[in-house]
């Protein structure tokens, strides 16, 4: 078995990032979109941790803490928006929220 290098972690990070981006762009259900955003943020965290280990620098881990913090805040606000949208449209399907059209 080859040694697990930073590259491996980067690959995982890329995969998660790609899946997350795909989910954000392609899904119509807003809840799923929000969850996909969390996936993207997680992939970023993996990347940070991998590099922190690579260079023996705690800065990566500190940054990851902050990323988690921001993700939490953003999730809260995003769900708030979701609830507001649901109250307005009685649906969470993004296709029906086209006020910005034009």
């Amino acid at each position: 078995m080859p040694e697990i290098t930073t590259h491996h972690f980067l690959v995982v990070s890329f995969l998660l990032f790609a899946i997350g981006v795909f989910g954000v762009v392609a899904r119509k259900n807003m809840i799923t979109v929000l969850m996909s955003i969390e996936l993207v943020l997680n992939s970023v965290n993996i990347n940070l941790i991998a590099f922190s280990y690579q260079f023996s620098d705690l800065t990566g881990q500190i940054f990851a803490i902050f990323t988690i913090t921001v993700a939490a805040g953003e999730a809260a606000v995003g769900l708030g928006i979701l609830i507001a949208l649901f109250r307005l449209r009685e649906t969470t399907i993004l296709d029906q929220a086209t006020e910005l059209k034009g």
Partner: protein, 687 residues
Amino acid sequence: MKELLWLIPVLPFLGALLNGVLLRGRISKKAVAAIACGTVGIAALLSLGIIADYAMSIPAGHEGWQPFEQDLYEWIPAGPIKTTLDGVKNFTIPFGFLLDPLSCVMLFVVTFVGFLIHVYSVGYMSHEQGFQRYFTYLNLFMGAMLLLILGNSYAVMFVGWEGVGLCSYLLIGFYYKEEFPPYAGRKAFIVNRIGDFAFVLGMFALVAHFGSLKYTEILPRIAKNPELITGAGFLGLTLAGFIALCFFVGATGKSAQIPLYVWLPDAMAGPTPVSALIHAATMVTAGVYMVVRSNVIYQLAPGVSQLVAVIGAATAIFAASIGLAQTDIKKVLAYSTVSQLGYMFLAAGLGAYTAAIFHLGTHAFFKALLFLGSGSVIHAMGGEQDMRSMGGLKKALPQTYRTFLIGCLAIAGIFPFAGFFSKDEILHAAAGHGQWVLYAVGLITAALTAFYMFRAFFMTFHGHFRGTHEQEHHLHESPAVMTIPLWILAVGAIGSGWLGLPGDWNLMHHFLEPVILQPRGVEVAEHDVSALLLALIALAVAGTAIFLAYRIYGGDRGLEKGRVWAERFPGVHRLLSNKYYVDELYDATAIRGFWATARGLFRFDAGFIDGFLVNGTRNLTVNALSLGSGLFDKYVVDGLVNLVGTVLDGSSRVFRRLQTGYVANYALVLVAGMFVLICVYMVWRLS
């Protein structure tokens, strides 16, 4: 005394100033009359004094005689001009007066008759509106007339000339509220103007040649050196002929000769004293005065002199014939004036200048007398002037009757009244120069004169009264203020003739002799015709005419016999009573032509110049400018604006498709942008 000469014209002007401007509407009628008559009266007395003073100073044999000249100030210093005789010389017109025998005679006539008429007007106009205005104009006229006759140059004469023309207009149109008087005033002024134009041309010729307009600088010089103006002039005439002709045309306008006489009969629309003063005694004689003053020039232009005589004679007989058929008493007198003026020009044209002035003087007296008498009649008739409504006024107006009779006898040329002497002198001159045609015309005119004057006399004063009952009750003799001047004039109408007895006793001729300059080398051919014989012939002719008039109109006959004669020659009668249709002829040709030209010019101005040129240019400019500006605005400016709009619209149409409203699309774009950024980073890292 002579130094006070300038005061004579100034006094009437002062009266006009007081009555017309300073004291207008503020003083009583008595005060107005006092001022008006007072100024003229003082002028008259002054004239007498000055004339006496001057006459005494003339030596008996006329040796070394000088006119008295008084320059007041330099009126028009025109500066250097180029003259044909003296090269470049300084041309100035001083304002001054001249006193010589001719101006003495005129002065006496004008002031004396003028004064009497002023006094008469006080009575005649006492019931009229505009009393003060009337006397203002009358004084103004007197001042202008005195300027005319006392002026020492043609320029000052012209000032007076125009002034009397103006006053004539003002006084003819005195009753301006009616329709006809203003028209008659305009007619007089405009016809006068035509003559004045010629007068001015003559003055210009004098200035161009002599560089001066003063009598004393021109006339004696011509007399000494006649060749100065016998050279070539204009239009095939000699210079003398040209100037003489121009002056004479002016005279025909002012003195109502053919062809410019048409204003005088219509001028009767003015008050009767005005007709007496202006259109009988004074203004109309200005033309005669002018010709006599310029006698040297006329003596050197025999052709024009002959023309003057011929027109004078023609006018005399022409006007007399019209007088035969007139029914308005003033019109009869008007045509009579035209006729008698013709006599004066006949004399002047023949070279008998003293005879012309003599007749001017006697005519002033008896014509004024006749006009004032007719005024008295009209006054008594309550304004009626048609003789067909008169008749038998002998009993109601005895003084008027007698003085009018004296006037008629005078004008008919009956011994011993004034007209006899003056008219005969003219006929004697005609015969003496061998102009038998002119003599015959003059004789026939004398007959016609006697006839129509007595026709008027009999129609007015004899027979039965033909007017209405109200008029009959109104008949009354005029007050003393009107009858006394009549009598004074009657004395003049008798006595003035004795100043011109034929032969060596001719005081008038002797007095005026120095004025008649004898140009060197001009001979006067005289036939020796017995004056006595001619006088007897004239008397016989006149007497026959009066007798005929009596037979037709006199006694109790009234108008029937006259009507019978009129019916026998209906065509002639119509021709005469319509004044030979001359006014209609003038109207059809000159007046209509004038109006047509004026209208045509107006149309040209309004249509072409205003319409096409001015408005067209304006339209062109405005339209072109506005068109250009509009096009510019529409295509360039708006184009730019629209371009911006179109561009924005197009681009927005494209970009709008970005705004799908789908959040997922936005997210995709976001990712795609990130994708691009990564590409950029990759490239950057690789390079």
